[in-house]
Subunit: 444 residues, 2 copies
């Protein structure tokens, strides 16, 4: 499903490969992908995107047309372009499984491979892991804000292109959403497809009641009627009058959808109209510019709403559409490496994250340590690929969704309430010592 | 290049089609796509995405595999799914040409087609036109902030998936960027590919000077050296010492790139180091979390920087990752239609936008009017498709880029300075009268 062209990369990756090749630099490199400081709007991240990252690495090769274009482009020397025909990914990947809560500065994915391989995959690995982690995190916040509610991804139309819409549906389902409006996401990922009707459907009819009745007769299975095209309460009264007639034919109105105005006030008015008409089983579903804050406010206000469609704010993560993440060289040819650019220095070497829990299962603290240090806690990074082949146990959307529910339940209560709280992420003594030694060597 | 599956749509589009089919509703429908109120961060929009929208409509059909999946999904009746095999778009499209400045409430695209056709295409049309317009607008702001500077899209890694990265490259080139780092965008759209080197390249070498020298010998054509991996000024001194030696071999260092710290201060220090070493022709290129505001500040401060790589802020439009846009039914079977949902009421009927200019060419005001009203000004919507086939004269990236430069030059000076200013968008008397009549009829 996802785009697989190896030209979906930054030009400089190939420039560097050309230089590496000219100087025979193909020793083993270790790159790690991590998120830097989180913005104030985010207290945790939910790791996602690993399955697509593994799929990308496993299928990585230059097609004949791509090589022809590269050769014709004049950007690279012909013998270098020819050498790319045999290019494959043969390395190892360790990663934090999808659906695991992570924090800033923690490596979420490590690639160990010959330098050209590990280098080339940088752009697309970041592109895949960053985006799904951004969306899974946003979705997790909505899930935490609305316990027990039905949540549906409505965001394809304002997602950033096709792949964004599809992967946002996946990432939000992973985080605990119950379904998506996007049919292709339902096909590609097995997510329940959920849909109602648009205002245009109601408008196309001269009469709102007739529009509802026609729809109900044709599509009786999953029946939600959109009632705010002209006047929400009038729409509710039409449904209240229609529902008994439809019931006599065996058609059940499952829900009404509100999409505008003061949703809490409308929901209460509509609930009263439906209850007074003896229709307590017709549920109320709301949409329209919702995010975790408005959903939380509606839940806190006990608005009689059973489900929410969340669109733009979800699929663009509108308050935090991007996070500061990086994929950095930590070791080459057995020697640890450290970037020291101002404000962007990295921790060198091959690392693991160890997590400790309180007796009730709440996350207490994490430690980022060198792989060979002895540190208490649960190691988060696990084998995802060996010798270019996937370790099957680590991927799978259903497993990731189960894991996400468990991992979110381990968050400290303030983070579960979308409040600000810091989980301590400690840097191990061994890692600090290594960084200090590299800085001394480099300054010398 | 772009995703073409018709399953890339909201489930409800097909639900509505099923209901339309059951009741023989296939009269001509008129839908218009427009942007609602702009956020405070945006004073204008740059229309983009039409070429991909037309490509989508022209190639629109359900594949056999898609129909098989729909039939197996149980979401829709078998005879309805079977009827989709013949589905094509045969309608007319009028649109504001790409690269034209537009404002809130102005229709940018109109579809006139049998109701099922015009309905089904809603989700993907919005997805394509919204995203590219968001990005072209953001890019235009960077272009206005940095007159005469080289601007390059660096944003694939944090774009929202593959298509977002590719279409952001296109939209930013349309708006006046000079190139992109994304190779596939260069191939697909003919945009110049521009690349330098990453910190990992420098780190992989034990010695920074050697890293530069190797790179220069292998890739002498477009040579930019990244100098901030360890210490920016030290990097500049290494380049200053290396450049004469390389020049003796016929290799010219074109530029150095700064990617961290106080870019203005580093640029001045680096400029002095290079000038003192007799290297005034080595240009300075900057990147690292830039947006239109930081670029404007660097230009206003006369920082000696000749070009900027803009990444995340551009390809996610990070301050405004989504705009409020809609695709609404304005007429069905010859009768104008009006949605009246609270805060989301639409202007009914088939409309045109007329633009008026001051003698010096500056945009004075626009009028949104009914198609058959007589209004002074230049009509913005032009034929883009007739009978399901493209009107070729209206698309083309090169033409759109030329148009964008001209249209941005017509913006009132405050908008060109990224300040807030309102260009009056008037609603014609005929349109107001029609809306009032429909509201009366509906209330009656």
């Amino acid at each position: 499903m996802i785009e697989q062209s190896l030209l979906l990369t930054d030009a400089y990756e190939l420039s560097m490969l050309e230089a590496y090749r000219a100087h025979g630099m193909a020793e083993i490199a270790v790159f790690e992908l991590f998120f830097r400081k989180l913005p104030p709007e985010r207290g945790f991240l939910l790791a996602a995107g690993l399955e697509q990252a593994v799929e990308f690495l496993q299928n990585l090769r230059f097609g004949a047309e791509e090589l022809d274009w590269l050769a014709a482009s004049g950007l690279f020397a012909p013998d270098f372009v020819a050498s790319l025909a045999e290019f494959r990914f043969t390395g190892d990947v360790d990663a934090v499984p999808e659906g695991t809560v992570v924090f800033a500065d923690e490596p979420v994915l490590r690639v160990i491979a010959p330098l050209p391989q590990a280098q080339l995959v940088e752009t697309r690995l970041l592109n895949l892991v960053h985006f799904q982690t951004v969306i899974a995190t946003k979705a997790a916040r909505v899930v935490l804000a609305a316990p027990g509610k039905q949540l549906v991804d409505f965001g394809l139309r304002r997602a950033h292109g096709a792949e964004a819409g599809l992967l946002a549906a996946r990432a939000s389902y992973l985080a605990g959403f119950g379904g998506t409006a996007t049919l292709q996401a339902s096909r590609d990922f097995g997510i329940p497809a959920i849909g109602t009707m648009a205002h245009s459907y109601v408008q196309a009819h001269d009469d709102e009641a007739a529009a509802f009745e026609y729809f109900a007769r044709v599509r009786p299975r999953v029946l939600t009627l959109l009632i705010d095209t002209y006047n929400t309460e009038r729409g509710a009264r039409i449904v209240a009058a229609l529902a008994p007639r439809l019931a006599a034919e065996g058609v059940t109105v499952g829900a009404v959808r509100l999409d505008s105005g003061d949703l809490a006030a409308h929901a209460r008015a509509v609930r009263a109209i439906l209850d007074d008409a003896g229709q307590p089983n017709i549920r109320i579903f709301a949409s329209g510019g919702l995010d975790e804050y408005s959903v939380q406010a509606l839940c806190n206000a006990d608005a009689p709403i059973e489900g929410f469609g969340v669109g733009t704010a979800l699929t663009t993560s509108s308050d935090v559409p991007a996070l500061d993440c990086a994929y950095k060289l930590q070791e080459y040819a057995g020697t640890p490496r450290r970037k020291r650019s101002e404000g962007k220095a990295t921790w060198p070497g091959r690392k693991q994250v160890y997590r400790r829990y309180a007796p009730d299962g709440t996350i207490l603290s994490d430690t980022v340590a060198l792989l060979d240090e002895l540190v208490a806690g649960e190691p988060l990074l696990q084998p995802a690929m060996r010798g270019g082949l996937p370790v099957p146990s680590l991927t799978g959307l259903a497993e990731a969704r189960t894991r996400a529910a468990a991992s979110l339940a381990q968050l400290p209560p303030p983070l579960r309430r979308l409040e600000k709280a810091d989980v301590p992420v400690e840097i191990s003594p061994g890692l600090r010592a290594l960084a200090a030694r590299l800085d001394r060597d480099n300054a010398a």
